[in-house]
Amino acid sequence: MLSYLVRRIVLLVFVLFGVSIITFTLMHVIPGDHARLVAIYRWGYDDFSSQELSVVRREIGADMPVWRQYAWWLGHVARGDLGYSFVTKRPVTAEILARVPATLELAVAGFLLTVLIAVPLGIACARRPSSWFDNLVMTGSLVGVAMPNFWLGLLLILIFSLTLNLLPVAGGGGPAHLILPAVTLGAGMAAVSTRIVRASLLEVLEQDYITMARIKGLGEGAVLWRHALRNALIPVVTVLGLQFNHLIGGTVIVENVFGRPGVGQLIVEAIESRDLPVLQGGVLFLAFCFALVNLLIDLSYAFLDPRIRYGGSDG
């Protein structure tokens, strides 16, 4: 268990290291002098001297060879210092943290919705495969998977806000503001997840120990709950791990559709205003969250299934 944990954390560090190299490289493929760009944003185009430029160069570490620049930058990142926004001149870390609540709210709500839809429907379908209900749900999930979330969001606004006048349209705010974005985000993920919950349950139900349980005379409900479901939860968690990728991508789109001031919207705004430090910081931040959640999901296997003991063998 402990060695597994260590290995996962080593992998996490490795991935983050790679991610940091990618983002650092991206920022340095831009033509032109990075220090000059910072100076232009700070003082205006013609309003700085070469002396001020060299101050900036030292300040952002651009006077060193590239590999040392990277180490220097990484040192700052490790201390939570992501530099300053070109546009607002405030620390990037503060800009990001200010946007986290809106994104977190949306992501958690969308994720919960996914679980609340996918798990019960997946179970119901697996109990009676190929029944009319199963077919209906599976057809619905095909639709859900193919539905572009940005289009779904607009349709929901058109129907529920504009035509039926039930829910608000704009920005962040109370729970009412969260309903449509959460549905938009959760629908596609629920569609995929339902299929996977169903499939993994079906696979488990075919296995020998379930047949044994049935022979022992356990009721169908007991078989499902006490044996099958417990083991099927592992793929469920895996799926939710896989869905986390979609979750992050989805929040970017949904925040844009509904004008929610989240991290995704911050990144889109940073691209429009060429605010590179914010772009870099936002990307790094989301990648970090992604890696962390993946680690947590891996670890949760160990808790969910006591038979799994992560030992020496290659896992």
Binding site: W43, L229, G259, E272
Partner: protein
């Protein structure tokens, strides 16, 4: 195990609810009752509020801070924090401060505090020094501010009326000099700023020196998307907003409880060109582009009538506008084609795009999206240029990003919108060879000397005559192409009263006299 899973779900639910719980009062429709009790105005802001350190936000929008003087609607200076001012000698000015003015934290307005505030404004902005030519500032006594300029500057009082020179208490800043809590002298005091949403709330200052404002509270809620602003207004989530999408105006005017007011304002949609590039340094090409633009069609379809086609830069009813230039470039694509042919741009390979010296006429039009008419206008221009054999690409970027590229010389065209209210300032900055908005780097000695001549001419009618002469020259030379005069679409619920549009202020301003009158 399942239990653990459910527990997780419950915890997550709790998190969501906790997250939803913290919202500011007065922001949603649910708080209608509270909004009725207090006179609260919720304003749908067009631009995101990413920082408080912004004179326009502090002075013309939230009315937290005030300047020494104010530019009135008739272009005359009015006293504000300074009750009188005079020029002592060529380079020295004295401003007498108003008695009994207190900052929102109770401290008194003194000349020493004003010196610190103006020093900060000069230090923050390198152009402020150019504009004011201030060499030093000092407090002659408790209530007298003395300003010494490096060169004589007759326009110093006008410059100090600019919002960047607003007076904030030194207590507004932390030890690193960052603005943390704006403390001014205005009719409203700062209440809160949500960094995430950018929402700013101000409340009536109980001991304001002037007339009490008509509202108890103003909430500035950024909704950068014009369409969302229109919907929020329609649904009553906001009470007041600017720059409605033009396609929605006709419909909104019919919505009960909503009022849309259109204000012609001194602001121009113009196409700037990089005359440092050979393509645009050719006068024939610039004139051809002028003929290629169907201004009336753009106003009708892109702006939905919310604007006025124009060839000169000024509103047509101003005394300095030269109406004669309006006949210079009537829409004539045929003429545009022949001018381009004369300039050597011919489509040799038959792909519909003209070439010269083997290079196709292919350009990029950059524009920004916060003004709702600009992206579609750029797209319309793109198609109209295509009709005469010019290939254009449209690129939507933010204002700052666009002018960074302009300053680096890496650009073809920018579709822009700028205020034209002060004819002298506008002509000098756009067409004067040293003008700050002269991105084309246009140089015409005759124009320069006419600008100088106008500056030295006291008689307004004579001066306006010179402005008209300049318009004739620059319209012929056309370093920028004017397209239409702006019209601001202001939307409000019908209970909002007292809004006064000041064409000399920034067009997204509010005024402290505004109020709400709702039936209980």
């Amino acid at each position: 195990m399942l239990r653990r899973y459910l527990l997780l779900a419950v915890i997550l639910c709790g998190l969501i609810l906790a997250g939803c719980g913290k919202q500011e009062p007065g922001t949603t429709t649910g708080n209608q009752a509270e909004r009725n009790a207090d006179r609260v105005l919720v304003i749908g802001e067009r631009d995101p509020i990413r920082a408080l350190d912004n004179g326009f936000l502090l002075v013309e929008k939230t009315h937290i801070a005030e300047t020494l003087l104010r530019m009135g609607e008739d272009y005359r200076l009015e006293p504000l924090l300074a009750t009188s001012w005079k020029q002592v000698d060529a380079n020295t000015w004295e401003f007498i401060l108003r008695d009994g003015v207190k900052f929102h934290d109770g401290s008194a307005l003194t000349a020493a505090v004003v010196v610190r505030a103006l020093d900060r404004a000069l230090g923050d902005n390198p152009r402020a020094k150019d504009l004011t030519k201030i060499a030093s500032l000092n407090a002659a006594d408790e209530k007298t501010l003395r300003v010494v300029t490096a060169k004589p500057n007759m326009l110093l009082p006008e410059a100090l009326a600019g919002a960047d020179f607003c007076v904030l208490s030194p207590a507004s800043y932390n030890d690193r000099g960052e603005l943390v809590r704006p403390i001014g002298t205005g009719p409203f005091r700062f209440a809160s700023w949500d960094q995430a949403t950018g929402q700013v709330t101000v409340e009536r200052s109980p001991d304001y020196w002037g007339p009490a404002p008509g509202l108890d509270k103003m909430v500035f809620r950024p909704i950068p998307d014009a369409n969302t602003r229109a919907l929020a207004l329609e649904k009553g989530e906001i009470d007041f907003t600017f720059d409605l999408p033009y396609g929605e105006i006709a419909r909104l005017q019919k919505v009960p409880g909503v009022r849309v007011e259109l204000y012609a304002e001194p602001r121009i949609y113009r196409l700037e060109m990089n005359m440092s590039r050979a393509t645009f340094s050719d006068l024939k090409v610039r004139q051809a582009l002028n003929y290629a633009i169907d201004r009336a069609g753009i106003v009708k379809s892109v702006l939905h009538g919310c604007g006025e086609a124009t060839i000169g830069p000024f509103m047509h009813d101003t005394p300095w506008c030269n109406e004669a230039v309006e006949n210079m470039y009537r829409y004539d694509p045929e003429k545009a084609r022949s001018l381009l042919g004369e300039a050597g741009w011919v489509d040799k390979d038959g792909d519909g795009i003209r070439e010269k010296n083997g290079k196709p006429f292919s350009i990029t039009i950059m524009t920004w999206a916060s003004r709702p008419g600009m992206p579609p206008m750029a797209e319309a221009l793109q198609a109209q240029f295509r009709e005469v054999g010019i290939k254009a690409q449209v690129q939507i970027l933010e204002y700052g990003a666009i002018y960074d590229r302009v300053k680096q010389g890496d650009w073809d065209m920018v579709l822009a919108s700028f205020q034209t209210s002060d004819p002298h300032r506008y002509l000098a900055s756009v067409y004067g060879s040293k003008g700050s908005q002269n991105v084309a780097k246009y140089k015409n000695k005759q124009v320069d000397s006419l600008i100088d001549e106008a500056a030295a001419t006291a008689d307004p009618d004579k001066r306006y005559g010179i402005y008209r002469e300049i318009q004739t020259i620059v319209t012929k030379d056309t370093p920028v192409i004017n397209i239409a005069c702006y019209r601001m679409a202001v939307g409000m619920r019908d209970y909002v009263k007292g809004f006064k549009f000041n064409p000399n202020a920034h067009d997204l301003h509010t005024n402290p006299e505004m109020t709400v009158e709702k039936r209980p």
